[in-house]
Amino acid sequence: MPTVAEPVPLPVAAARAGSAAAWRVLFQRYQLPLYAYVFQLVRHEQTSLDLVQESFIRAVRHLGGLRDDGKFGSWLFGIAHQQCIQHWRKSGREKLFDDDFPAEPIDGEPGPIEILVRAEQAAAFRKKLAQLPPTQCAALTLFFLEDFSLEEIADVTGAPLGTVKSRLHHAKRALKKLWEEQP
């Protein structure tokens, strides 16, 4: 699965040095995809905003712990993912994020998913994506939003690589099936 390189290097080192301008660039780049990802998991506008805010705060405070500046994106999504898990834990819905079935070995990379949606079908697409189990929805949303590699999705979700591969495989198959079933 190819990873899309950032066209312009992100100013992670400057942000680490405390530059507000660098932080502004980083957050501007990720704020909307991050919100979209969090919303996909918690399905509540204000809660999503709160979780994104908390993720930003944690990112500013803990950037020193990031070893590879090139992984800033997956690191930030990982923080947001942990915030979602904590939110679920507080509301007693943590089990929602458990896999419905054990990870089965998948040979090779999960196949590509070529979905192009007409403007009038956007709401239907979102609805179909939301019908997937949370773990699969999370993996597929990360794949769609940031084109993350399997390793990066594993970093974000904290799941083993094989599990991520399995989730993505099933998610793609299920979404394709749901999409083809639509009238």
Binding site: L32, L49, I57, V60, V117, A119, D147
Partner: protein, 147 residues
Amino acid sequence: MKTPKEILLETHQVMTPRLDKLREDVLAAELGRNSDAVSEKRRTIFTAIPLKLWNELIWPSRRAWAGLAAVWVALAVVHFSQGSSSNPSPSALDPQMIAAWDEQQKILEQFVNERTQVAEKVSLPSAPPATSGKSAESFYANENDWA
């Protein structure tokens, strides 16, 4: 036709102004807080060290320090009061010392002159001029004449 990414981002595009405000709030709070913490730490260093020195080094033995300070003040007073009367002025120099100084200067000049003269006498005469090729040729020519 749109990609899933475009669909997902467009759905939440309306949240951008709120996300912008949220971002600026976080930056103002967190980066401002960090700089406040740094300046507070700096201020603490500059005030805490002298205070600690005062509390642990000066204050417990304040009588001893006060005694030492009094002695230093007394010494300073004595020094300055004596110093103003004992410093000789240039005009009050002993004439004998001036005469001895002149004598030493004369001896030094004499010694330097003698040394220069000895050096000129001891120096070697100038080296003879180098034998030119022409004189060598005439020497061999004369030798041939003898043969």
